[in-house]
Symmetry: C2
Subunit: 739 residues, 2 copies
Amino acid sequence: MRHTDWIQAAPGVWKTTLGSPEGLTPLTCMKRKPKTEAMAGMPDVPLPIEWEEIAFTELKAGGSLLSFPLGQSEELYGAGLQFMRMNQRGRTRYLRVNSDPRQDTGETHAPVPFLVSGRGYGVLVDTARAVTMYCGSTLRQHEGAAAEARDRNTDRGWKATPASDRLEIRLPPEGAAVYLFAGPGMMDAVRRYNLFCGGGVLPPRWGLGFWHRVPTLYRDEEVEREAMEFRARDIPCDVIGLEPGWHSASYPCTYEWGADRFPDPAGFVSRMRQAGFRLNLWEHPYISPRSELYGEMQALSGDYAVWGGLAPDFALEKARELYAAQHEREHVSLGIAGYKLDECDGSELTRNSWMFPAHAAFPSGHDGEQMRQLYGLLLQDITSGLYRRKNLRTYGLVRASNAGASSLPYVLYSDLYDHRQFVRALCNASFCGLLWSPEVRRTESTEDWVRRMQTVCFSPLAMLNAWGDGVKPWSDPAAEAEIRHYIRLRMRLLPYLYTVFAEYEANGTPPFPAMPLVLDEAKRTKQRAASAAGENHPDAAALNGASPKGPIQAFDVLDTSEGAYGTRLGREWDDQFCIGRDLLVAPMFAGETGRDVLLPEGVWYEAETGVRREGGRVIRVECPLERLPLFVREGAVIPMMPALSHVPEGDIPIELVHFGSAPGESLLYDDDGETFDYEQTGGCWRKVTVAKTADGSFSGTVEPGGAGSRYRIAGWRFGQTSLPPEASEPANRGGICNE
Amino acid sequence: MRHTDWIQAAPGVWKTTLGSPEGLTPLTCMKRKPKTEAMAGMPDVPLPIEWEEIAFTELKAGGSLLSFPLGQSEELYGAGLQFMRMNQRGRTRYLRVNSDPRQDTGETHAPVPFLVSGRGYGVLVDTARAVTMYCGSTLRQHEGAAAEARDRNTDRGWKATPASDRLEIRLPPEGAAVYLFAGPGMMDAVRRYNLFCGGGVLPPRWGLGFWHRVPTLYRDEEVEREAMEFRARDIPCDVIGLEPGWHSASYPCTYEWGADRFPDPAGFVSRMRQAGFRLNLWEHPYISPRSELYGEMQALSGDYAVWGGLAPDFALEKARELYAAQHEREHVSLGIAGYKLDECDGSELTRNSWMFPAHAAFPSGHDGEQMRQLYGLLLQDITSGLYRRKNLRTYGLVRASNAGASSLPYVLYSDLYDHRQFVRALCNASFCGLLWSPEVRRTESTEDWVRRMQTVCFSPLAMLNAWGDGVKPWSDPAAEAEIRHYIRLRMRLLPYLYTVFAEYEANGTPPFPAMPLVLDEAKRTKQRAASAAGENHPDAAALNGASPKGPIQAFDVLDTSEGAYGTRLGREWDDQFCIGRDLLVAPMFAGETGRDVLLPEGVWYEAETGVRREGGRVIRVECPLERLPLFVREGAVIPMMPALSHVPEGDIPIELVHFGSAPGESLLYDDDGETFDYEQTGGCWRKVTVAKTADGSFSGTVEPGGAGSRYRIAGWRFGQTSLPPEASEPANRGGICNE
C-alpha cells in the first residue's frame, strides 16, 4: 500500500492519475471548462481527511485499489442515479450502465463514479470503464475485524453488514484520473463538482413548462388535435413529444420523417409552433439500413449491430458530424426543439440482450464497455451542440448519462415505474450533477394517478408519457380538476423554477437538493454563524470537530456523532426534497392519507392550507388526494406568473409573493429564456427584499430588470401563508412596493 | 481472429489452453480422475462443428473471445444453476457466483461455465474467474446484420433480441483451459462432461430418505422430541438438520458445540442414531474469534473479514487440514453424518454486502474473485473428504458450486422461494452435473404447501427446512394425510431412486434429466434404430443432417428445423422432468387444477390413477390437490420398498412392480448403502426382465444379488397401471417370478 501524489486542478479540487488511462473519459469527452471563478469564491478549506490516509494498492488481477478512511457514522451519497437507497454506506456499487436497474447492485442508467461524503468532500473517478466502489462494505481482517464478530443467535448487535472503516474504489486495469472536491459541507462539494464540470444547465424557459408525449404511430393531424385539446381544456402545455412512428422506420432508426404519417414536417412543426408548442423527437442511436446515413456510417461504426442497425462510433469526429448534419437538416432547421435519446444505456445484462457487447471494437480504438459507458454523454453532447451553434438552448430526455453531465440540457428517465423509487432517483440525482423526471404513464388507480402527477409537476421535467397507453391529463374525469390544478401551479411557479436553475448554472447548486444536502448545509451555516459569534459557543466547538456533550437532542443540528440527518430516526429521508432554498416537497404515495415530513429548522408554511409549522423536527401531515405536502420557508419571496397556456414570446407578468411574518431577501433571475446570451451578459439577477416597516407592515423592493429582462413586476403580496389562489387580485397586497 | 489447437483429453473430449491461466480452477482443485473407461464405451463421434468454425480473438481490454457457430434454431442449455430460463439462447450469461440471483443475468449459486448445444456437443471453460457467455446474444455488424433490421412499428417480425449466429465466450484476461465434449446427443455430451469430472455422486441410501431441519436455537431435547414425533405420526424421516444455534457462537462460526444447548453432543448423536436419525450440521466457512481454530487460521486466511470472522484460504493444504481435523474431532467422530454449507456464495452484489471483495488477497496468491468462485467447491471437497477417509459416504447441502461437481455429495439450495423457479432449477441442474433441492419452508396456503411438498418428494433431496419458521409436516392438519402420503411414497420409491443415482455414478446420466435431454435422447435412439433399419428410412436421412420434407408434425421426433422439443409449442418445458428413464414428474403449482404435460413418445400410465396415456404429444391432466401428475413408462419395472420409518440397517424387502402390457427390462442397483466398497466391487447390478408368456401373462426374472446385496425380493406385480397401494398384499401378483 502506498500513497499517491495529488495536484490542485481548480480551487478546492485535487487530481491524481493512477496507471496509464487511455481513450475518452466522461470529462475529456465533455470538454467543459471548469467555472474556476465561481469556485474561487467558495470557502478555501482543506480536505477533511489527511492526504496520508488515502492509500493506493496495486491488485494481483490487474487494476488498483484506492482507499479512503471512513468515520463510524460517515454517510456516502451519490454513485449516480440510484433507485434503491440514498445513503450508499455499507453497499458495494458496481457502476456500469444498465437499462433495467431492478436490483440494488449500483448499476443504473447514469452510473456516475462520484461520491460525496458526510464528512464534507467528494471523490470522482474519471473513466469510461465500469468502476466498483465499496462504500464501507468491506472489512479488512487486521483492522478490528474480530471486534465486529457477534453471535447472531444471541447478540442483538449482530449486523448483516458489519461496519467498515474504509471506502475502497477499484480502478480499471488501465488506471484512471481521480479527483477530490473540498467542502466544507456536502453541498459545497457537490457545487464544486458541478462547477468543475462546467456548472449546471439553465434550460430554455419553455422546457420548464408542461410536456406531453403522444402515442406511438400518431400522424400529424392526430398530434395537432391532441395538442389543441390542452388549449381547449385550459391545461398548460409547452412541449409535445413524438414517439416511435415519426421516423420512416425505427428500431433501428432512419431519423427521416415517415412520409405517410408526416407528409409535410415543416408545415406541421410551424403550425404547432404557432399554437405555442415545441416539438421533441424520440430516437435511439442505432442506424437503420434504410437511413441515408447508413452507407457512410458503416465504416464509422462498431463491429456489432444493435437490432440490425449500426452503432456509430461517436468518439469519431466524422461520425458526430454526419449525425449532426443530418439531424440539423431534417429536424433542427425545421424548428424541432429537442430530443428524447432512448436506449443508449444497454450493457451485458440488459433485458433482451439487444446491446453491443463489452468486447465490441470501434474504429476509434475504444471497445464496447467504454462506448456504452459514454454513449449517453456523447449523444447529449452532439445533439445539444446542434442548438448551441444556433445560439439556442434545448432541453430533452436521455436514458443514459455519466460524470460531467451537469451542464447538459437533458433529464434522465427510465422504463421502471415505482413511484417511491422515482422520488428517490430525483433526490439522488442531486448528488451527482444529474436531473431526473418521474414521468407519468398510465396508472392503476385515480389515487396513484393524482399522486404521480403531483410529484412530476414538482420535478425538473413535468411530463406525461402516453407513448404506449394513450393516457391524457383528462383521461380520468374524476381527477381532471386536480391534474389541471397542479399543471397550472407548475406554470405559475415557473419564474421560481427558472431562478433555481439559474443558481445551478452559476453556482452549481442542485435545483432539487436531497434532504442530506439541505440539512448539512443548514448545519454548516449555523456553525459558521456560531463560529463568528465566538469560539466558546458550543456550535463553534462542533465546527472544530469536538463532539457535543450531554444528551443528544432530536435534530440538534450539531449532532455529528449519530450521522447526519439523512438517516436519522431509523430511516432515509429519500421521499422528500427541496426546490431551491425556499420550497420543500413531500410527495404522497397511493395508499397514504398522511405522512411524516422532516422539516428543516425554521418556520415553514403548508403552501396549500396556510398552516404554520415549526421546523427542526419531524411533523405529521394529513393530506387528502387533492393536496400535496408543499412547504414554503418563512421570509421567502416566490416569484409567480399566471398559468398561461404556454411560455409566451413577449413580457411575462410576475407577482412577488412573500411568505410569513419575517422580512426576507431573495434573488430573481431573468433573461431571454431562449439563447446563450446570458453567458456574455451574466443574465439579469435582481435582488428582492422585503423589509418590515415601523408599523409592522411590509415593504418590498426589487432591483430593476435591465435590458435583457422579460419580467414585468405586476404586483406583490406580503405576509402570505399559502399560495394565492389563481383567480384573486394580484397587486400589492399588504405592503409597499418599490421597483 | 485466429484458430486454436485442440488436443484430445479423453474419449470424445478435446482441450485447448488459451493465454496463461494461473492458480486453481474448478477441475484442478477437484482432482477427480475422469472415468475414461465409461467414456470409451460411448459412441465414437466427431464434434458436430468443424474445427475451423471455432474462432479466437484477443481483445483490446484484455482477455480473449472464443466463438462458435450457431444454427438458426440451435438451443443452448446449462450455464449452471439458472432460475429464470432453461434455453439460454439469446441471453448473455455472466457467470459469477451470487447468493441472491433475483435477476436473469446468469449469476447464480453455481455459475458453471458449461453449455450444451442442441447440436449435440458441450463446451466448458475451466477457470476460477467469472466468465461471460454470449449465448447468441450478439450480432456482428458484417454478418447479415442489416437483414435483421425491422421496423418495430409496422413489421411483426421485429424481435427484441435479434437472431445471432455465434456463441461468444469472453475468457478472463489471464486465459483459461477450454474443453469440448462430443455427443452425438445432448445427453451424451452431458454424460461425457459428468464422466470427465469423475462421474456422478452415489449418495448413501439414507440420504435419499426424508430430511427435516429443526428451528434455530433448538436444544438437544427439543430436537429429540421433534424427531420422535415423526415416528409417532408414521412419517418417515432419515435425517435431522441442526441450524444456527448448535455452535457455541455463529455468524461467524466456532464449529464447537454450544454447551448450554448441547451439553452432551456424543450422547445426543448416539441417541438420535439409535432412533434411526442421521444428523446434519449447518455451518458457514467464516471462523469466529471464539473458535479454537482462529489463532492458527489467522495467517492462513484472506485479508478481509466476513461478519468479523476469518475467511480461510482453502487453497492452502494447511488450512484444509486444520479445518478438517477440527471437524473430524468435533463432529464426524461423534457420528455426525454431514453438513449444510451455507453462505459460501457471496460476491460484490450480494445483498447486505457481507462477502469479502474480489480484490481480497489470500496467502496462496489467489484473489477474492477466484476464491469466491471456488469456495463452494473447496468446502464440498474438504468435508466430503472427511467421510471418504473413513470409507463412509455423506450427503449434504451447499449453497455454492461450480464446474466439476458431479461427483460431490452435495445438493444446492437457495434463499429464493418461487416454486416454478425451484422446479426450473431442478431441471437446469441436470445439464451441468449439479443437484438441486426445492426445499420447503412455510407457505401461504394449504394448496401451496401440498404442491411444494409433492415436488420436493420427487427431488434429489426431500427436505422440509423449518429453521426460521418452525413448520413441521403436520403443521397444517388439513394437509397432514397428503404430506404423509408423499413422504411415504418417496420412501417406497427409494430403491428406484438409488438405482437412478447409481447410473449417474457409473455412466454420468443425470438422475433428474430435464425434458430437452430426455427428448433429444429419444430422438437419437429412434434415429439410430432407423439407421440400423436401412439408409432409405426417412429417420436415417434426418440422422445424416437432411431436413424432413412435407408438413411438420407436432412432436415428430425427426423435426430438427424448428428446434428441439424444449421450446416447442412456444414454451419451454421447464416445469416437468424425469427421474431416471421410467418416471416423469409434472409438478403442480398453487392456483392450478390441471396442467399441460409434454409426454415423450410411447405409452405412459398416470401412476396415481392408472389412466393410460399415449405419449409423443402434449396432454392435459386435471389434478386435485391430493394427486400429482406422475407418469410411469410402459414396460418399466420399478423396485419399491415398504414405507419404513427410515432406511434400516439390515435387509430391505423389495417389490418389483412392472407397468403396462408390454414386456420390460430394467436394472436394479444395490450395495451396502454406506461405504465406497462399490468402487472396488462395482456394486451389485441386477438385470430385471419381464417377459410375456404364451398365455399372455407375464414372467419376471431378476439376476441374483450376490455378496454385497441388501435387497430381498419380497414379491412382484405385473401389468400394473398405477402404483400399488401401501396396505395391499405384495407377493407375485399376475405372473410367474424367478430369482
